[in-house]
Subunit: 198 residues, 2 copies
Amino acid sequence: MPRVVDRTARRSEIAAAASRVFVERGVANTSVSDIVKSAGVAQGTFYLYFATKDDVVMAVVDEMAGRMIAGITAAVDASGSTAVEKFLGLRDVLMAFDVDATAVELADFMHRPENRPLHDRMAEHFVPALIPLMESIVVQGVAEGVFNVRDPRAAAWFVLGGLQSAELSGTPVADMPAAIKAVTGFSLRALGYTAVGS
Amino acid sequence: MPRVVDRTARRSEIAAAASRVFVERGVANTSVSDIVKSAGVAQGTFYLYFATKDDVVMAVVDEMAGRMIAGITAAVDASGSTAVEKFLGLRDVLMAFDVDATAVELADFMHRPENRPLHDRMAEHFVPALIPLMESIVVQGVAEGVFNVRDPRAAAWFVLGGLQSAELSGTPVADMPAAIKAVTGFSLRALGYTAVGS
DNA sequence: AGTTTATGACTGACAATCAGTCATAAACAC
DNA sequence: GTGTTTATGACTGATTGTCAGTCATAAACT
C-alpha cells in the first residue's frame, strides 16, 4: 500500500496557514501562492484539499465561528443559573462582544473593510448557531414561569435578530448603556416577561 | 469650455449595462470586458466612471435597493392609515416579499450562491434604509396611544432585525402562517402594544 | 532479504483569465 | 489652431486553477 496521510489533518494544517496569512495581509490581498508558501506545500497540493480559494476562506470562517460560539456558550453558562440571568449574559456577550482579548482582535480583523466577505459569511453562521442556546434559555424561562411564549424556536429567532440588529445600528459609545437598556426591555417584553410572583 | 458630457447619465448607462450582464451571467462570472462590450464602450471608458469593478457592483446594488425601498414604502402607505395597519403592511411585505413579479425574479437572482457578495451588500443596505419608515410607524403608534416605547429609533432597529431574522429562519412554507402570527405577536409585545380603549 | 509493482501524495511549471493602465486619438469649445 | 475633456483598446502584471509527471511507501512476490 502507498503512503497514506490523514486528509483531515492536512486540510487543517493548510487552513491554519491560510488563517495566519489572512490575519497578516487581509483576505483579499492574500493569494493562493501566499498560502502555500506559508504552509510549505506546493500550489497543486492546495487544490487537492480545497476546490477553490473561496473554499479555504469558508473553512477558516467556519472554524473561527465555531470557536466563538463555544466561547459564547461558556460565557453564558457562567453568567448565572436562571433564564433571565442567562439571557442577560447572552445579551452582554452579543452587545459588548468582549469574551476575551483574542475575540476583540478577531472582531477588529473581521470589521476591516477588505474583509467584508468574511464578515458577512460569519454573521450568517452566527444567529443560526446561537439559536439552540437562545431557545434553551427561552424554554427554561417558560418552565420557570417568567417567560410566556408559545413557540420558543420562533422567539429565539426573533430576539436574536433584534439583538444583532441593535448591534449593527452604529450607536455611539456614549449612548450604549441606554441602547442596551432599551434592547433589553424590548426583548423581555417580546418574551412576555413577568417577574416571578407578580 | 471643453467637451461636456452628462457624467451622471453616462455612469447610469454603464451601470445599467452591468446590471443586465450580472443578471445573465452572475456577478462573479462577469468580467469588466463583458460589461463594456454590453455597454458599447471601451475598457478605458469604464474606468473613467468607476474606480473598480466593485464600484459598479455597489452602484447596481444601491440602485436596486433604492427601487425596492421605494416599492415597499408605497406598499406600506397603501396598506392603511393607522400605525398598526401600517406595521402589518410592512410585516407582510418583508415576510412574503412579493411587491410584484420583478421583485420575485430579483430575489431569486440575489439568492443564487454565486451572487452572495451582492446579496450581503444588499441586506446591509436594507434594514438601515427601512429604519425611517419603521420609526415613523412607531412614532405614529405612540401618538395614537397604542404603542408604548421610549426610544422609537431603537425600537425600529430591534423589530426590523427580528422580522428580518425570522425571514431567514428557513421556516417551511406550510408553517409560515403560524410563524408570521408568532412574529407579529413578538413585535407588538416589544412595542408595548395595547388596543385603544383597553 | 531483495526486487518489483501498485497507489496515492505531491510537485511546480504553465495556460487561461482578468482587473486595471497608458499612450494616443477624437471631439469639442473658444 | 490651441487647449481641454472624453474615449479608445492594446497591453501588463498578477492570479487562479490544471496537469503531466515524480516520489515515497508498502504490499506482493521471488
